[in-house]
């Protein structure tokens, strides 16, 4: 492992910084070797870090956009494809373009020793290889995150927020999460449709939200997503992996995804979630989709935060029917039967309609096959 000489930090440590630092882990290009990145993701979680994993097959551009929206402390890139001398300069260029030069970029993978000095010289903060011990990697990452902590008040964030700079929104969300609101400022009042999306694990909430968001975007609507995953009650770390099912294709300023952890709270929501939604609405989004952890009964809390709630189910899923008995049936405004291409879809639909005593809508969709999403988008967009 090689690290760059520490830069002198000119940023001051804000009070009330979040306990958990955030790292974005990305695989870029077509290389599917993800053992290393997944082992690290779990190890970071165990070390109390929030990990946003963007999954396979990302472009450089999508990776940097994700780093901006997630307001991470470090960006970690895994490359076993021998493409590092092409990919890393491109990432550095985009990092500068998006105003993220203060976020350290680290690389792990199969990298010939001769390339190490070249990478460090071009601005990569650290290079890890298959022989790097996890403890050393965690120590290096922790030192890098200490150097990089958000500064909201001194960074003209209010003006940039008003100018529609997505980076400012990302920073404001971090401030809200840290319980360190910007003094004397609150976001302007917005008019977004806020829709909660809940359902048992495995019904495909994230993929569905990805397709629903893309459909709304294709109609020119500005869409924000809050994706919530549980944190480890012991370490406070978290694996935030929903984003990888949502972002596909060309990154887009008006499709803003933010992954949050429950940060030790129960109820299937993140702390200050209402304030996060308010900030997104004030920033000017038309539709805000809030995805809960799908842990069951506690997810009814989402209904208090949003205008309308959708419950996702899938065919022949005893679990989701069971789940639906736990109070959510009453509060849901509509039902989405995902994976409708699987056998048993009609039977589950009949069962569901039988359980409803009113005419709330049931949509049959397949997020994977992109079927039936338009009708749900119509409903979301009709405020």
């Amino acid at each position: 492992m090689v690290t760059a000489a520490p830069e002198k930090s000119n940023k001051q440590e804000p009070s009330g910084a979040p306990n958990a630092s955030r790292i974005l882990l990305a695989k870029i290009g077509l290389d599917g070797h993800d053992r290393g990145v997944k082992v690290l993701a779990r190890s970071f979680r165990d070390a109390g870090i929030e990990v946003i994993y963007t999954g396979l097959w990302q472009t450089c551009e999508a990776t940097m956009f994700a780093a901006l929206q997630e307001d991470v402390d470090v960006i970690g890139v895994s490359l076993l494809s021998a493409a590092h001398m092409t990919v890393m300069p491109e990432l550095l260029r985009l990092r500068e373009e998006l105003g993220l030069t203060h976020v350290p970029l680290v690389l792990g993978g199969i990298v010939p020793k001769a390339d190490y000095p070249k990478l460090i010289d071009m601005g990569i903060a650290a290079v890890f290889n298959p022989g790097s011990s996890v403890d050393n990697i965690i120590t290096t990452i922790s030192e890098l995150t200490k150097k990089r902590r958000l500064i909201v008040a001194t960074d003209d964030v209010v003006q940039r927020f008003a100018d529609g700079d997505a980076r400012a929104l990302a920073q404001v969300i971090t401030a809200i999460q840290c319980d360190a609101p910007i003094e004397g400022w609150s976001p302007p009042k917005g008019s977004a449709n806020v829709v909660g999306i809940t359902g048992a694990p495995g019904v495909g909430k994230s993929s569905f939200i990805g397709k629903l968001g893309a459909t709304l975007r294709s109609r020119g609507r500005r869409v924000a997503v809050v994706a919530i995953d549980p944190s480890s009650p012991i370490t406070g770390g978290a694996l935030l992996g929903d984003r990888l099912r949502m972002m596909r294709g060309t990154p887009d300023d008006a499709f803003f995804i933010r992954s949050l952890s429950t940060a030790g709270t129960s109820g299937g929501l993140a702390p200050h979630c209402a304030d996060v939604v308010r900030a997104m609405s004030g920033f000017g989004f038309d539709d805000i989709l809030v995805e809960t952890v799908g842990a069951g009964q506690a997810d009814v809390l989402v209904a208090k935060l949003v205008d309308r709630t959708l419950l996702l189910l899938m065919p022949e899923s005893g679990d989701s029917i069971q789940f639906s008995k736990a109070g959510i049936m009453e509060i849901a405004d509509g039902f989405v039967l995902n994976k409708c291409d699987l056998p048993g879809a009609d039977a589950t639909e009949a069962q569901l309609r039988g359980a409803l005593s009113d005419d709330r809508t049931v949509w049959k969709v397949s997020a994977v096959r992109d079927l039936g999403i338009d009708a749900v988008a119509d409903w979301v967009a009709a405020s």
Binding site: G29, G55, D370
Partner: protein, 535 residues
């Protein structure tokens, strides 16, 4: 330099079993050699698929190679053939493996890097220029777009005047392990398996000498699974292909003899041997008793093995030569039909020529000098090896039962069962290494800061990408537009109708359609897949 004062023997295997200091007959229970082992070349084939094994014919030393443009690899193929090799083994680059053309934005920096770039029939023609496809056997390591590459191969053979029933070779064509481990999937699991069945059905009728699927545990193990999981997941995948082919209406004995397997050989010497012996026994019973196969050749599990790339260390890279040698011997004592030995520099870069040659020499020393080839299955009857074989077999059956209880492999994929188990095992392994419970020489034992480096690295140029992009542009400008469009329409129609897409793919290949275009056409019908549950 720090050296530990004493060496503690490893106390447990990878999956947490504590081993006894010695094993005796009481550990074998009701072991009956005639039932559990049989004779070599006879049911249940624990001792090997052939009666005489290496005493009459050595394993095939099959070193996997290929990079750069089709011309580069063609030159390499001709060199190998001139030096007496009869089998070609083709490594494709990442864009080809993912079914994308060389000019795709995601292909940036990856064209021709880890294998040869093949985007069209013209590339395939260049790859085999001057090579008689009627007289060589060609292995193609390709999965999601396997049917397309096979279509190219059939079309090139036709141009050469070679009938398809003369073609010999192997497609890896194992899409299920891509969902579990290697991540080179494109379509959702259901349609992906149907595409594999299309190739099985087509080859059974038209390419009877072609090995249709190489069901692979290698990638599953490399991604982090332990030995029992590798064994169970691989055999479960094999069973899924058999079941889906039977559901298509194929006769099990018509296609099963053309399935083969591909395992990893890791560090735990006896466990790996036990795994390979157990694999044959489980498969023989499954094919005969579960699927009702009558033909003995359907019961035989034939395998290729590769030493475990994941065990190689960047620290003290010369040590890797020793690891590879032990692993290779385990593969041979386990009765493999062919073997690839890794190069010591694979954690640093693609293998250099010198390292690749040393890897091959490692096999040659094993074959010529150690005399392990002089008798079939020399470890049979060892209390320890037979106990381990029984134990890993029982563990594998338990996991296979678990998968069956979920409704089969496709349902288990949908629930993220494989990915979660593999990631958890990988994490457990890493924790064990970090805690020093698993010792790796040069990493957490006998660490020697001065002994790293000193290995020459292969460098690859950037030219292929530009050349491929230019060629695709030319192809798209010069091909006959109407024929091209019609061929893709037919492909879409056949896919929608649920017909076997092989004939349409062969026609599209001839009409100048690219790998990327055919994949996109099928994607419009089959959908695409984002990997399923991750954690």
């Amino acid at each position: 330099m720090s050296v530990k004062p004493s060496i503690d023997p490893p106390a447990s295997s990878g999956d947490g079993d504590v081993r006894k200091p010695f094993v005796g007959p009481e550990d074998l229970g009701s072991f009956d050699a005639s039932k559990s082992l049989g004779e070599p070349g006879a049911f249940p084939y624990a001792r090997g698929p052939h009666r005489t094994m290496y005493t009459s014919r050595l394993w095939t030393m099959r070193q996997f190679a290929g990079f750069g443009s089709a011309e580069d690899t063609n030159e390499r193929f001709k060199y190998l053939l001139a030096n007496g090799q009869h089998g070609l083994s083709t490594a494709f680059d990442l864009p080809t493996l993912m079914g994308r053309d060389s000019d795709d934005p995601l292909a940036l920096g990856e064209v021709g890097r880890c294998g040869v770039a093949v985007a069209s029939l013209a590339d395939m023609r260049r790859l085999f220029d001057g090579i008689d496809l009627g007289s060589v056997s060609t292995s193609m390591t390709i999965n999601a777009p396997a049917a397309i590459l096979l279509a190219f191969y059939i079309a090139v053979a036709e141009e050469q005047g070679v009938a398809s029933d003369k073609l010999r070779g192997t497609l890896q064509n194992d899409i299920l392990k891509e969902f579990h481990a290697q991540n080179e999937y494109v379509f959702p699991p259901g349609p992906s398996v149907q595409l594999v069945v299309d190739t099985i059905e087509y080859c059974t009728k038209h390419l009877p000498q072609w090995n249709t699927v190489s069901v692979s545990g290698y990638h599953i193990r490399e991604a982090g699974a332990n030995a029992a999981e590798e064994l169970a997941f691989t055999l479960a995948d094999g069973m899924a292909y058999v079941q889906h082919s039977i559901d298509r209406g194929l006769d099990v004995d018509a296609f099963a003899p053309r399935l083969s397997f591909f395992f990893d050989v890791h560090n735990d010497f006896f466990e790996e041997i036990a795994k390979l012996r157990a694999a044959r026994r489980i498969w023989a019973h499954t094919m005969r008793d579960r699927f009702g196969a009558k033909n003995e050749r359907s019961w035989l599990l034939r395998m290729h093995c590769q030493t475990a790339g994941v065990t190689l260390t960047e620290q003290q890279p010369m040590n890797n030569v020793v690891r590879v040698a032990y692993q290779a011997m385990a593969g041979v004592l386990g009765g493999t039909q062919s073997l690839h030995t890794n190069s010591m520099d694979e954690t640093l870069a693609l293998p250099s020529e010198q390292a690749a040659k040393l890897a091959l020499r490692t096999q040659q020393v094993l074959a010529c000098e150690t005399n392990v080839t002089q008798t079939v299955d020399p470890l049979a009857g060892s209390y320890f090896v037979e106990k381990m074989t029984n134990e890993i077999e029982a563990k594998a059956y338990a996991i296979i039962d678990q998968i069956d209880a979920m409704g089969g492999v496709l349902q288990a994929v949908d629930r993220g069962f494989f990915r979660r188990r593999i990631a958890e095992s990988a994490h457990a392994t890493q924790r064990s290494i970090d805690a020093g419970d698993t010792e790796i020489v040069g990493v957490n034992a006998f660490v020697d800061e001065e002994a790293s480096g000193g290995v020459d690295i292969l460098q690859i140029t950037q030219q292929t990408e530009d050349m491929q992009t230019a060629r695709l542009k030319e192809l798209k400008a010069t091909r006959e537009k109407a024929r091209h469009a019609t061929s893709l329409d037919r492909l879409r129609q056949d896919a929608e109708d649920g017909a076997n897409v092989m004939p349409a793919l062969i026609e599209a290949a001839k009409a100048g359609a690219t790998v990327g275009e055919m994949m996109e056409t099928m994607k419009s019908v089959f959908g695409s897949y984002d990997g399923g549950p991750e954690w």
